[in-house]
């Protein structure tokens, strides 16, 4: 069979993945805290093609034709952690993180990447809210669209409990109805202006985790990310980290509509091109089957 038929098929599948990824970005254009994904494709492993026959038939006598890749696949979908724009909701349980964590010696570009002169990539650390899911496992999110439930817990809209600096879920006393959060993340009772205290008597602070390499985060849906087992629990942000928590704001999705539409069209056309290639190979095969050798 013609080798290129399968190469074109691999191109179809890879471009379908690209299309799926960008359409999911477009779907989440209004999702608070959503981080756009990009598709990274990689060619199939390289092969060395040699001519059949020729020489004396031994391996080292074979005539080498050249190198060849026989396809492409969607390798990974890294997220773009650029900050989204902020909108004001005036809702006391909505929070946005503004973070621009700098690493000494690195000048990050817009996508949060810096390549050292030695050719090593450094990624910009990101600040994230930490929440506990129903199994008390830590998850990280930039979607600060929280609510206060009947038990007085600060929860995400899928019920994950937001953690304080001691990594305990935040729970408000029944007497506290309105909260105010300072830029440092300290929680105050908005009516009395007193700091809210936790079960051990210490003031409650929103826990903001510092994710050293955000590319290690794995998407779980509902705006949640997790770190693979084997990773250390991320520390809290440092005071000098240039991170702000804003109350009454939400961070918008960082999806760019125009760019996404272009990407969508590009993926669609690339799919179409590969489809044509399949058709051409089909015609070649048709010739081979029906016309070559006809007497």
């Amino acid at each position: 069979m013609l080798r290129g038929l399968y190469t074109a098929t691999a191109g179809l599948i890879a471009n379908q993945r690209r299309h799926d990824t960008v359409s999911n970005n477009i779907a989440n254009i209004n999702t608070p805290g959503y981080k756009a994904k990009t598709t990274v494709t990689r060619s199939f492993p390289e092969m060395l093609i040699t001519m059949v026959g020729g020489g004396d038939g031994s391996n080292d006598q074979r005539l080498k034709i050249g190198r060849l890749h026989t396809g492409v696949f969607a390798e990974e979908a890294p997220s773009l952690f650029k900050s989204g724009s902020l909108i004001e909701t005036r809702n006391m349980s909505d929070f946005a993180i503004v973070s621009d964590i700098q690493v000494p010696g690195a000048r990050f570009d817009e996508s949060g990447k810096y390549v050292t002169p030695e050719g090593e990539s450094v990624f910009q650390p990101q600040a994230m809210f930490a929440v506990n899911n129903e199994n008390d496992e830590e998850r990280y999110t930039r979607n600060g669209n929280f609510i206060i439930n009947a038990a007085g817990e600060l929860v995400t809209s899928d019920g994950h409990r937001v953690l304080d600096a001691q990594r305990n879920p935040i729970q408000l006393d029944p007497g506290i109805s309105e909260i105010r959060v300072g830029e440092g993340g300290t929680v105050y009772d908005a009516l009395t202006n007193e700091a809210v205290v936790g079960p051990n008597g210490q003031p409650v602070n929103l826990f903001i985790a510092r994710i050293e390499n955000p590319n290690q985060l794995i998407r779980e849906g509902n705006g949640n990310f997790r770190l693979n087992e084997g990773n250390d629990l991320p520390p809290a942000i440092n005071p000098e980290d240039n991170v702000q928590v804003l109350q009454g704001f939400l961070e918008q999705s960082n999806v760019d509509a125009a760019q996404s539409m272009v990407e969508l069209m590009a993926a669609q056309r690339a799919y179409e091109t590969n489809q044509r290639m399949v058709q051409f190979y089909d015609r070649s095969l048709e010739k081979a089957v029906n016309e070559v050798g006809r007497v």
Partner: protein
Amino acid sequence: MNRSLIGATTTMQSIQQKMDVISNNLSNLNTVGYKRRGATFQDVLTSVYQQTQPFNKEGRMTPLGFPQGMGAKLGAIELSLEQGVLQNTNLPSDVAIDGTGLFEIERNALDNEGNPQIAWTRDGSFQLVPDRNDPNQLILMTKMGDIVRSATDEPIRIPPNHAFTIDERGRVLAKDKAQSDAQPIQVGQLKLVRPIRPQMLSSIGNNLFGLPQGLAVDGILENMDLAADNENGRIAIRQGYLEGSNVNIAEEMVELVNAQRAYSLNSRVLSSSDTLMDLTNNLRT
């Protein structure tokens, strides 16, 4: 499986729901005491195409696996208890709350245990209705005919031939119309509750808030001490005023435009994935 097709469909349904929330806000633009709601999105469950160890090539940035989302769904629908604008009506039976609080009313219906149903509202367009047992007495009721409760959970009765005023602390004072020098007498105290967990309140129609079944009032709502809260400036009752809705038409229109644009973007995605399927279908022409 065509994920973009399914994802776009899911998302369009969610955007439709968001538009429903917005249009409900807009249609209640002029409803007295209406509190707007806001809807936000969440991305739907991500599934991961598993990849084996050989995929872990040099230069790879992320852990193994290729995550794929399935569009967006509606997350929380949040109630905003922001203050609405007070409008002067000069009607003595119109009462507005300036601050955070809700009137407690007794509905003309019984709950499962045979007790009168209790609900809460910000709508202070009350009226005086003759008491069924004693037609000379007037009872303070809502426009829907539900009894406005006093701090002692009783109806507020105005004696015959009395004019009534409501002061900033919610005290209802009645004065004999026949005697110009008569001292006003206190006939009741409006009952107000403070929502501690406002997001737990549910709308039960007719501009009323109720509690979802199985949820106790304790911890959600708290009886207010109007005298103390008026003293420290947290709340004031304004007679002769009505509270407008807190819907901001400009904000809602922006949200609507936003939602509509997102809807059309997703319908583009839908037709694009349709094209992909069409191309696949025509592989063999």
